[in-house]
């Protein structure tokens, strides 16, 4: 029984990291209908930023996790830069497929750029301890502080984000642009600004996810982004891409399945199981669990 509960907790922790990343995918997809393959690499960017700023932050007498603020800023800038330099020109001219290929190219670019920077290089780096180690016990089940903090912070962020999209002017503008770009323009919304804002928020979430991930696994490498990103993306598609609650749901589904496969079957099959679920869901409900099917107009 305690194994079971432990597995659930691990699943929730993984799930909340996936959900945070999935939100970034989903927000960008919702607004420009593009799988931002580079989004996973924003996590990597965030991770390295944290590694490099932690000593600085500690020297200033702040707690280590404060490095996330720098990561948020850097990731937001990288996200906005990607949109302005690569995605926008392609969106103007090209087809859906060329936008997708551009996204793959940007992902390659970020990964390989990181490897080419001497301070980063191809070998994994180990991060400092970010949150206080240890935990507490309830019955026979251990709750690590890191796990609890991860789940709580993710939940708070998700709720804030949901309120933001529902209640604020900017949030409404984002939803408006994702419904209909030209109508949004007519309503006086600056579409380009809204898209850039979406990228900034999504990338900032990736930075937070990087912190959560590194609090648990303090090891970072340049292709970390694509490994994590693919699973988070699966979460977004699973829940119904473009739908914010869908991303959260998908994140937890993927996290739980991965955790259960790892502890009850085999860790080497976890990826295959995650993809198998995606395939089954897509075949039964092509738009994801919470998605709506929209046919092409003839």
């Amino acid at each position: 029984m305690s194994t079971f509960i432990q597995t659930v907790i691990v699943g929730l922790r993984l799930g909340s990291v996936y959900a945070l990343i999935a939100l970034g995918y989903t927000m960008v997809y919702g607004i420009i209908r593009l799988i931002n393959f580079a989004h996973g690499d924003f996590i990597m960017v965030g991770g390295y930023t944290i590694i490099f700023t932690v000593p600085l932050v500690l020297a200033l007498g702040l707690p280590a996790w404060a490095a996330v603020l720098a990561a948020v800023a850097v990731c937001a800038l990288v996200g906005m830069g990607t949109e302005i330099i690569a995605y926008r020109p392609v969106r103007k001219k090209g087809t859906n497929m060329s936008a997708l290929i551009t996204a793959i190219a940007m992902s390659l670019f970020l990964e390989n750029l990181a490897q080419a920077i001497p301070a980063i290089g191809p070998n994994p780096k180990v991060a400092d301890q970010i949150f206080t180690a240890g935990g507490f016990k309830i019955g026979s089940v251990t709750f690590e502080y890191t796990t609890v903090i991860t789940i709580v912070i993710s939940a708070v962020i998700m709720i804030v984000l949901y309120m933001f999209t529902q209640k604020t002017r900017l949030g409404r503008a984002m939803r408006c642009v994702s419904e209909d770009k030209s109508a949004a323009t007519l309503m006086g919304i600056n579409v380009n600004h809204t898209i850039i804002l979406t990228f900034a928020i999504g990338s900032a979430l990736a930075a937070v996810a990087a912190l959560m991930y590194m609090a648990q696994y303090p090891r970072i490498y340049t292709t970390l982004g694509s490994d994590l990103g693919i699973k988070a993306f699966v979460s977004a598609v699973l829940g119904g891409i473009g739908i914010i609650p869908g991303a959260v749901l998908g994140g937890f589904v993927v996290g739980l399945f991965e955790s259960f496969t790892t502890s009850y079957i085999s860790s080497s099959l976890a990826d295959a199981v995650v993809f198998l679920i995606l395939i089954v869901v897509l075949l039964l409900k092509p738009a994801g669990i919470m998605g709506k099917n929209v046919g092409e107009k003839v």
Binding site: A105, M106, S107, N112, I230, D271, A272
Partner: protein, 383 residues
């Protein structure tokens, strides 16, 4: 008259290819045992062969059918492991003892064909469900299947030995019958060339028939294609299967040319060069919808990779540029974005090089440029 022209171009192409092949055989006979020829040129040709097949086969799906598949290397992995395992089984059963003679050659061909067929069957099984989805969803589901294939191979009990295992544990493939050493690569280079030429021919024949027309129509407009009586889903699955076959063959050639197999070489991305993303890069740069473009792109990119890995000029560069050239994907990523922005259909677009038509095309292109120039001039004088 038009028929004569077609017949003439078939004849010219066949003759040129045959002549090149014979010339090559002669050269191999003359210089086969010499240093650079044996150690650099021949291994390079092997690599070019499977890269060409890989790019051209993905182009059928990506360029002609217009569907983004991100798990192409998964099919290559199936081909490579199938070929290696069959040859291993044959050797253990004592079908051949030394790597020579007619029986051995037959086994190589058998491995290649089996590799293609198994990859094609997998392609069919993947394609039937996956191709019900479109665009982004298809991309992600093929990525998923690619990862599952690699994951499954990793977990097969009989793949973990004799150079078939994952990563560093790999012993030598030489033991398995395939995995040619540099001498065998020279001896059997003709097999790689014949197989590549044959497969490319089959792909050209496919593209220039009702099948090619149907899939290009599907790329342009699926709804109009089905309204023209095309069974869209079955043509999609057929193309996907056909493409997987050639990826499998490429995998078999890969198993011949490399001393060990590791599933990480067939992943979506990895630190190396061979992965599904790289194949997409080759196809896009070469031109989505141009088989000859894929061939040219594969050869050029191989050359660039080789130069970056081995060229003395790279070592002579100032240290801050070293990193850039150590990771050629960085350069490719930038080139890819630029190409997509300025030539969304790839460098050669749908243009096919042709031996018989080349002079004509050059003339036409010149005329077009001149016309454009005149137009610009006129616009300026009007403005």
């Amino acid at each position: 008259m038009k028929n004569n022209k077609t017949a003439r171009s078939y004849l010219v192409n066949t003759l040129v290819i045959a002549a090149a092949f014979i010339l090559f055989q002669v050269l191999t006979g003359l210089f086969g045992s010499e240093g650079d020829f044996k150690l650099v040129l021949v291994p390079s040709l092997w690599q070019c062969c499977y890269l060409i097949l890989l790019a051209a086969s993905l182009n059928l799906v990506l360029g002609f059918l217009g569907q983004l598949s991100l798990g192409h290397c998964g099919f290559m992995a199936i081909g490579a492991y199938t070929a290696a395992l069959i040859s291993l089984a044959c050797e253990r059963a004592g079908v051949f003892t030394d790597k020579a003679g007619l029986v051995y050659i037959l086994i190589i061909f058998g491995c290649i064909i089996a590799a293609g067929l198994l990859a094609a069957v997998t392609g069919l099984l993947v394609g039937i469900p996956a191709l019900r989805l479109k665009g982004d969803y298809l991309a992600i589901i093929t990525l998923g299947f690619g990862m599952i294939i690699v994951n499954v191979i990793n977990n097969l009990p009989f793949c973990g030995q004799d150079g078939l295992s994952q990563g560093s544990a790999a012993a030598s493939l030489y033991k398995t019958g395939l995995g040619f050493g540099s001498k065998a690569k020279v001896t059997y280079l003709w097999i790689a060339l014949v197989v590549t030429i044959l497969c490319l021919t089959l792909m050209f024949m496919f593209v220039r028939s009702k099948y090619g027309r149907a899939i290009r129509a599907i790329k342009d407009d699926e709804i109009a294609a089905s309204a023209s009586g095309i069974n869209v889903s079955s043509y999609k699955v057929l193309t996907f299967t056909y493409s997987a076959f050639f990826a499998g063959v490429a995998g078999a050639l890969y198993a011949c040319a490399n001393s060990s197999l590791s599933t990480s070489s067939f992943a979506f991305t990895n630190a190396g060069i061979l992965n599904s993303t790289f194949v997409v890069v080759m196809v896009v740069l070469g031109g989505m919808g141009s088989l000859t473009g894929s061939i040219v792109a594969a050869v050029i990119m191989f050359f660039v990779n080789y130069q970056i890995a081995n060229g003395s000029w790279v070592a002579a560069l100032p240290p801050f540029l070293n990193g850039v050239f150590k990771y050629p994907m960085l350069v490719y990523a930038v080139v890819l974005v630029i190409v997509i922005i300025f030539r969304p259909r790839g460098i050669f677009g749908t243009y096919e090089f042709s031996l018989t038509r080349l002079p004509e095309d050059v003339k036409k292109a010149r005329a077009r440029r001149a016309a454009a120039k005149a137009e610009r001039k006129e616009a300026v004088s009007h403005g």
